[in-house]
Amino acid sequence: MPRDSEPSTKLLDVPAALREAALAALVAFGLFVLMIGIRTEQGPTGALVLSTRFGLLAVMVAAVFVGRFLRALTWRRTNAALERILPDFVTAIASGVAPYAAAAFLVFALLVPVLFYSNRYLLDLAILIVTYTMLGFGLNIVVGLAGLLDLGYVAFYAVGAYSYALIAQDFGLSFWICLPLAGVLAAFAGLLLGFPVLRLRGDYLAIVTLGFGEIIRLILLNWQDLTGGPNGISGVPRPSFFGLPFTAADHGFAATFGLEYSPTHRIVFLYYLILALALTTNWVTLRLRRLPIGRAWEALREDEIACRALGINTTTTKLTAFAMGAMFGGFAGAFFATRQGFISPESFTFSESAFVLAIVVLGGMGSQLGVATAATVMLGAFELFREFEQYRMLVFGAAMVVVMIYRPRGLVSRRTPSILLGQRAAAADPHVEAPQ
């Protein structure tokens, strides 16, 4: 709990609260006076022109003052109460609801095209959500299970997308061959990128993976001959229904199945395709968690030194996590390429990596359900607030900070053990959580 000042011992210590609020307002003034109070804009000559926004400045400073005042007054009581209720409340709901939630989620996901058949916009959004969920599942293996902070995950997404695009275009192979190839290439990239750096500790590993992500993007941007540079690759072959193209032609999907042609068919197919990919990723991850490799990943996250003392080759363990995560990222990338029909380096910036990382962390590291929930909530919120485009990212960043402070283990924070002896049910005490 952030503890900025000594709590006042009096119940309603107005003078102390006023002092605190005044101080906070002063800080706010300092922060905002130039940045908010003054606006620079490029004038007609190209030089900058100033305008003032003192009204807005006053409002913001006042808001800080009032907010801080109220908080200082009620600090002891509300915070203490919140502290007690919130974790219990949420955890109780979360653990009670979790298994049903997963099933409900799945059923809903399967029915989305049925429910929203006529709404192209929602179908596209659904595809986007499932794509990011799959990316989240993939990164979850690296960050959530193995505890390796990868800030350059987008690199594998990009490798998958570009591999697919280039192979499909140059060799004309079907989607079902190109997809695994893209995944393999991405996994290979994971090994390549992972090998030199896995000796590094947490923070350093994060920065280096960030560096790799950027290097990949810069290469894609500049190696015009191979990747088309900033123009990217267009004309990526669209998916077909096992050979039947989604066109209005006679040998097309619609004609073959006696349906009236509609462009929605392709969209629905794409949706079920990514859903299948995501579910496969999910299934594999859940299986792996129960296998020695999965347990080794989680043990690695808990205490690497203890792992080594038990004879586990942590380097190969980390590499496997990296490669698996990369492979799934590659699959998602291949899907992305075929869905869009066009890819460019712009889609593979650091922001993407940060976004997927946020999904994994906010969802609760290691929890599949958490990842799916976080992806849905975040992308849903993003879409809902589309008009506030600039503010979306601001809120997103702030949310990351807030969640880290108040709920560092994410939305779904209890870890389900990968195996139970079942002799006596794990102490059904929701207050007992692993330390840290």
């Binding site: 594999v284 299986r287 020695p292 347990r295 043990a299 080594r308 038990l310 586990i312 195996i419 006596r424």
Partner: protein
């Protein structure tokens, strides 16, 4: 008749920049014996452990390990995970290093990683539900159960390891180390923080391990009750140097050891120094 040697520490020196933590240390540990490494804080005991278990590479010296079946290993050249896996030297840590977020059962299964990994066909077979793996996993669970029973934590198998009380955590760490079927078990202050009852239970456990599994034990400890009670052989370190090496009785009466532990009065410093050979 002397039992065969299991660990031969030869002239090991460990230097960190200008600091010499261990200086020209040599000693023998014998098979099936409990060898204790004692000495005041900072004497270099944990450093020695880290050298033996591969976490540090000694600046100078050899660490020769000899299995009962004759296999030999040069530990100073091996990385720590290979020492655990091939040379089968297990260890516990001064500050207990459990997988706190995982259950007791999971902790013990992780220890059997290499066996289970092989049985799962490096995951591939296991992924598709091979019965061979299922059998191996059942075997692993059986071994885990055995050790949980031995340390009296069987009913808490599904509890999270971090929730255990301190004494139980230490016992779990020992059980976990035993799950790799070590020939040499290195324990770093296993009795730290234990009360009398728990120390007695620890003694029993270690003696049983030695007796039933034939595991040799190398022990760092400050608790003299434990050390004198169960050790067959004691080595005393001070400032990185070996100052005594013998049976508990011999060491207990050694002047140098007493001086190192108790210190000497100011006016006797010169004389004590001469006695000790400084």
């Amino acid at each position: 008749m002397n039992k065969p040697v299991i660990l031969n520490v030869e002239h090991v020196t460990m230097r960190f920049g200008g600091l010499v933590a261990v200086s020209d240390l040599s000693f023998l540990a014998r098979q099936g014996e409990i060898t204790a490494l004692i000495g005041p804080n900072g004497a270099g005991k944990t450093t020695m452990f880290n050298c033996i278990t591969g976490f540090y590479k000694p600046t100078v010296g050899r660490l020769k390990l000899r299995h009962p079946d004759g296999a030999r290993y040069l530990l100073e050249r091996m990385p720590e995970f290979r020492i655990a896996r091939q040379a089968r030297v297990a260890r516990t840590f001064q500050n207990v290093r459990l997988f706190a977020g995982m259950t007791l059962l999971e902790n013990l299964l992780v220890a059997q990683h290499n066996t289970l990994m092989l049985a799962s066909g490096f995951t591939l077979l296991g992924l598709f539900g091979s019965p061979h793996y299922a059998r191996a996993e059942a075997g692993g669970i059986g071994k885990a159960r055995y050790w949980l029973d031995r340390i009296g934590l069987a009913e808490r198998a599904d509890d999270v390891a971090g929730a255990l009380p301190y004494g139980a955590q230490r016992r779990l760490e020992i059980a976990r180390a035993m799950c790799i079927d070590p020939v040499l078990l290195c324990l770093d202050e296993p009795a730290a923080g234990l009360n009398n009852r728990e120390s007695a239970a620890l003694n029993e456990l270690l003696l049983a391990i030695r007796h039933e599994h034939g595991t040799s034990i190398l022990l760092i400890e400050h608790d003299m009750g434990v050390v004198m009670e169960i050790s067959d052989h004691i080595i005393v370190l001070d400032y990185g140097l070996k100052i005594a090496d013998g049976t508990p009785v011999e060491v207990r009466n050694d002047q140098k050891v007493i001086a190192a532990y108790l210190g000497v009065a100011d006016d006797e410093v010169g004389q004590a120094g001469a006695e000790v050979g400084l």
